[in-house]
């Protein structure tokens, strides 16, 4: 009984965390942040000097 209640709470907290990360991602994307980073290949648009052009 007690374990079930604890697990239910953990589930709710994890759900809230996922929702929070999702919402922050949406806000950051809609305010112009790019969702990319270094991935072993050179991306010209990520180079600081190219960004300013």
């Amino acid at each position: 009984m007690r374990r079930g209640k604890n697990n239910a709470w953990l589930g709710i907290i994890m759900g809230c965390l996922v929702t929070l990360i999702f919402l922050v991602t949406i806000v950051k994307l809609s305010s112009g942040n790019k969702m990319q980073a270094f991935d072993h290949n050179l991306r010209p648009e990520l180079v600081e000097s190219n960004k300013k052009k």
Binding site: M1, R2, R3, K5, N6, W9, L20, I21, L23, V24, V27, K28, S31
Partner: protein, 317 residues
């Protein structure tokens, strides 16, 4: 067939409320409030979702620091009457569970704050947790009567974290908010120590009341309250202050000064006679004092945004 052993094991498991208590929710409330005011008073604006998510990280980080403090101090918490009911000394949670819980939450809150807001704010949160756990709990608390004077910095960082969430740095105003909490902490805790002295003596925590006696503590309370009042008045003429702040700040500081002066004029026999009535009243008032100062800084900020130049006010810096 009912598995009695399984039922027994389950009964010994901590409840969610026990873990919540480890986070020191009362302290967390003050931390979140002052961090929120720091964020609100900052000159840059933050999207409400980012602000809420960042403040949640600060709350969890503060809770993690509280849990780690309870893990480290569980031996003295057991001795002190005020803290003997906490989850570890009362046997509801064991030390290892508290250590793992606090560590995971600390790491999670720092990383998420870095991703949600910026890495300067995350570094400041990490430093605050480190300061509270290592500098205050592990080192100063059991060594010197200056424990809460220096250790008080840990509780003073939250408005600076709030400010850095918005600005990514430090400003004169955020330092003033830091100083307000920093100077408030000694008279607040020494007033508590006056009527909780037996607890600290029993646990051999070198509070000023234990090492230097009650008279010295009473003198120090009034001295720190005078410095605090001067600082609170200086803030009235900074970017944070204004006419509303001034109107609230003056009576609050007069009240705190009168209370501290009453404490200074009293002696042990008089205090014991009425069960530390004045000391207890001043202690409660000091909590209200801090909430009111930060509350009015918040209101003043909202006023300035809604009605620019709503009232002429001399600003020195």
């Amino acid at each position: 067939m009912v598995d009695l052993q399984a039922n027994l094991n389950e009964d010994l498991e901590p409840q969610v409320s026990d873990y919540f208590e480890l986070l020191k929710p009362k302290v967390m409330r003050l931390v979140v409030f002052t961090a929120a005011i720091g964020l609100l008073a900052a000159p840059s604006s933050v999207h409400p979702v980012i602000a809420l998510a960042s403040l949640l990280c600060v709350a969890v980080g503060a809770g993690a620091a509280g849990a780690l403090n309870m893990w480290w101090d569980s031996d003295i918490d057991l001795i002190m009457k005020r803290t003997s009911g906490r989850p570890i000394p009362s046997g509801r949670i064991n030390s290892d569970q508290a250590l793992v819980f606090g560590t995971i939450l600390a790491i999670l809150s720092i990383i998420l704050l870095g991703l949600f807001a910026n890495f300067f704010a995350a570094a400041l949160l990490a430093f605050t947790i480190f300061f509270y756990l290592v500098i205050y709990s592990m080192w100063l608390k059991r060594v010197t009567p200056q424990n809460i004077v220096i250790g008080g910095a840990a509780g003073a960082f939250p408005p600076m974290i709030g400010w850095s969430i918005a600005t990514g740095g430090v400003g004169l105003e955020s330092i003033l908010m830091f100083l307000l909490i920093f100077m408030w902490t000694p008279p607040h805790f020494w007033t508590l120590a006056l009527f909780m002295n037996q607890d600290y003596s029993k646990a051999r925590v070198p509070m000023l009341t234990v090492t230097h006696g009650m008279i010295t503590t009473r003198k120090n309370i009034i001295a720190y309250t005078i410095i605090l009042a001067v600082l609170a008045l200086i803030i009235a003429f900074s970017e944070l202050g204004g006419p509303l702040y001034f109107l609230v700040c003056v009576p609050l500081n007069i009240g705190f000064l009168i209370g501290s002066f009453k404490i200074f004029k009293r002696n042990e026999s008089l205090s014991k006679l009425d069960n530390f009535r004045v000391e207890k009243k001043v202690f409660v008032f000091s909590i209200f004092y801090l909430f009111a100062h930060f509350g009015i800084i918040g209101i003043e900020t909202v006023f300035k945004v809604l009605i620019p130049n709503y009232f002429f006010w001399p600003q020195i810096f």
